[in-house]
């Protein structure tokens, strides 16, 4: 089954512009000038049941706008959209029963009352039978370690505590599809770890589809098999993380520690013609930046070793974060 099916999904906003000065302000009263901004530009996206997809992009790339359309909050300007078989905006009340949403930046729990009261209200909102509610909640409380927090008002919780409660709240009705908008923003490593483990479990046991937007690439590395990358409202990459790494992360670094002193230009001479750049970090320490290809690594090593003995070496793959940064800096047109 398809969780999300979008074709040519587009969202435009009118942005009013104010003219400068007092005279301009008066003219604005009568007729206001606006400019149309395309936040999301005809994207096609299909996500199957049970996938965990990372949705990444820079600030203002259109991530949040997409999520808001997929959750039925915003009405698309154009395009077709079916989520869990519903039209999210038109059939909102029926549709939202089938999704869970966590906005990292705003709380969906009631600020002034104890966490468990929010849960109880949600039980009524989703009309969950007592027994099922208790069993499922008990399970989440255990895994997310929030048992001690239940009787505290939300405003007294720390960010990490609150976020775990938010997750439980979003999943209380066991939705088949979960949206996470920056769920780990500002959290410490332990909490992140806990949340990721929990998400994996949920995905495995209940087959929950998860769409995740994040700035933290380690979230993606830990959770997602598939990455959708967005730039200026368009999808610029949609595929597996491994492929992304393979195509754009060919760059490797070899840290070399030589047995005797070597000059930079000697190394350069020896490896002439190979796609490699040398960087000296110590008297005998060098880093070889290799642009792409498995072959190049062995070739560089074999040429260098003949000439000067190596004491220690370490090969490092570029991290996903570097790849993504590189893509955004250099731009990418191939999908």
């Amino acid at each position: 089954m398809r969780s999300i099916e979008a074709h040519g999904l587009t969202k435009e906003f009118k942005v009013y512009q104010s003219r400068p000065g007092l005279a301009g302000a008066f003219r604005d009263l009568l007729n206001r000038q606006y400019r149309v901004i395309r936040a999301v530009d005809a994207i096609d996206l299909t996500i199957d049941q049970g996938e965990i997809v990372g949705y990444i992009g820079e600030n203002g790339a259109g991530k949040s706008t997409t999520i808001k359309m997929l959750t039925g909050i915003l009405e698309p300007t154009a395009g077709e959209l079916k989520v869990n078989g519903y039209d999210p905006h038109r059939e909102r009340e029926k549709f939202v029963r089938t999704i869970g949403v966590v906005f990292g930046q705003r709380s969906q729990l009631w600020w002034d009352i104890a966490v468990q009261e929010s849960f109880r209200l949600l039980q009524k909102v989703y009309r969950l039978p007592d027994e099922q509610y208790k069993r499922h909640l008990g399970r989440m409380v255990e895994v997310l370690e929030i048992g001690d927090l239940l009787d505290q008002p939300v405003r007294k919780l720390s960010l990490g505590q609150r976020m775990r409660c938010e997750l439980a709240a979003a999943l209380i009705h066991q939705p088949p599809l979960l949206f996470l908008d920056e769920p780990t923003i500002g959290l410490d490593v332990l909490v992140k770890e806990n949340i990721r483990r929990f998400l994996k479990e949920i995905n495995k046991e209940l087959g929950t589809t998860i769409l995740l937007t994040t700035h933290d690439i380690s979230d993606i590395e830990a959770l997602c098999s598939r990455v959708v990358m967005l730039d200026k409202g368009r999808i610029i990459y949609d595929g597996s993380l491994t492929k992304l790494r393979l195509n754009w992360g060919g760059g490797r670094k070899i840290h070399l520690d030589f047995a005797k002193n070597v000059q930079l230009n000697e190394l350069e001479q020896r490896t002439e013609g190979l796609p490699v750049k040398w960087e000296q970090t110590g008297q005998r320490q060098y880093i070889a930046h290799i642009h792409h290809g498995e072959l190049a690594v062995s070739e560089v090593l074999s040429r260098v070793v003949q000439y000067v003995p190596v004491q220690e070496m370490r090969i490092e793959e570029a991290s996903t974060e570097e790849i993504v940064r590189q893509i955004y800096q250099e731009g990418m047109t191939i999908v």
Partner: protein, 264 residues
């Protein structure tokens, strides 16, 4: 489905309890208001026994009843909605399977019931010891008043919802909210009973929803309206309850289409 709304009322009760200080300061403010208006009107009456068909005693009772009713129907739903629209929390509300405005209305009801039982009723008893007022004993008038008060509450909630959702289009509607508050207090008959307005003004007010909020319920109790007078009052209120819902729903639908969630 009604269980959700009961739960909403319960949660609002809990929230009111969480902010007890507001509640205590409310008691002082309302007592002061009743005192000030009592002495003001007593000065206006001077040694006349009746003005505009209202006796001194009826006037005193009217002041106490209308202010205690205000404790029930008054709420800040407009400000809450405007706030939620401004800071974007409305987005969170839209991912829940309920009608946002209906939930808001029930939050208002929870707040109203809280103040009715913990504030108005005990307050009324205290006031009746301090000022000479005249309330009916055990009488069907109370049931009529309760019905009229509830309708008044609904009209007020609707006026508030309407003011609140306008924040979708006027992103800073603080001024509107303040203006509305003063207009409701003034034109609903709270500060001046409607019979004291000049004739032409009374005519105008008959065509506005505000009298349905305070003047009609208070009159039902104070004058013990019966028969066709009572039915007439209730009908006016009921008509406003229905009429006001139309623009609210229209604006809400329009707003959902043009919604821009502020702050990312």
């Amino acid at each position: 489905m009604y269980k959700v709304y009961l739960e909403v009322i319960r949660i609002r009760f809990l929230m009111m309890l969480a902010y007890r200080v507001n509640y205590y300061s409310g008691i002082i403010i309302y007592s002061l208001n009743i005192g000030v208006y009592y002495f003001l009107w007593m000065a206006i009456y001077g040694n006349k026994g009746t003005l505009q068909g209202m006796t001194v005693m009826q006037m005193a009772t009217y002041i106490a009843v209308s202010w205690m009713s205000r404790a029930f129907y008054f709420n800040n739903l407009d400000r809450e909605i405007a706030q939620e629209i401004r800071d974007g929390t409305v987005a969170v509300q839209l991912i829940r399977p309920y009608h946002y405005l209906l939930v808001k209305a029930f939050q208002g009801l929870g707040e109203g019931l809280f103040r009715l039982f913990l504030f108005s009723v005990p307050g009324m008893i205290v006031v009746s010891f301090i000022f000479p007022i005249d309330l009916p004993g055990v009488s069907p008038v109370w049931a009529k008043f309760a019905l009229s008060l509830l309708l008044g509450f609904i009209v007020n909630v609707e006026v508030n919802l309407l003011t609140g959702v306008l924040a979708f289009f006027i992103l800073n509607n603080q001024g509107l909210i303040w203006a509305k508050r003063v207009i409701v207090d003034l034109l609903s008959g709270l500060t001046i009973p409607i019979v004291f307005y000049p004739d032409w003004m009374q005519k105008v007010l008959e065509f506005l929803p505000f009298q349905a909020i305070s003047y009609l319920p208070s009159t039902v109790l104070v004058k013990g309206l019966a028969g066709s007078d009572f039915v007439h009052a209730i009908l006016i209120q009921a008509v406003w309850c229905v009429l006001l819902w139309i623009p609210i729903q229209l604006i809400w639908l329009k707003a959902r289409k043009t919604l821009i969630v502020q702050g990312g």
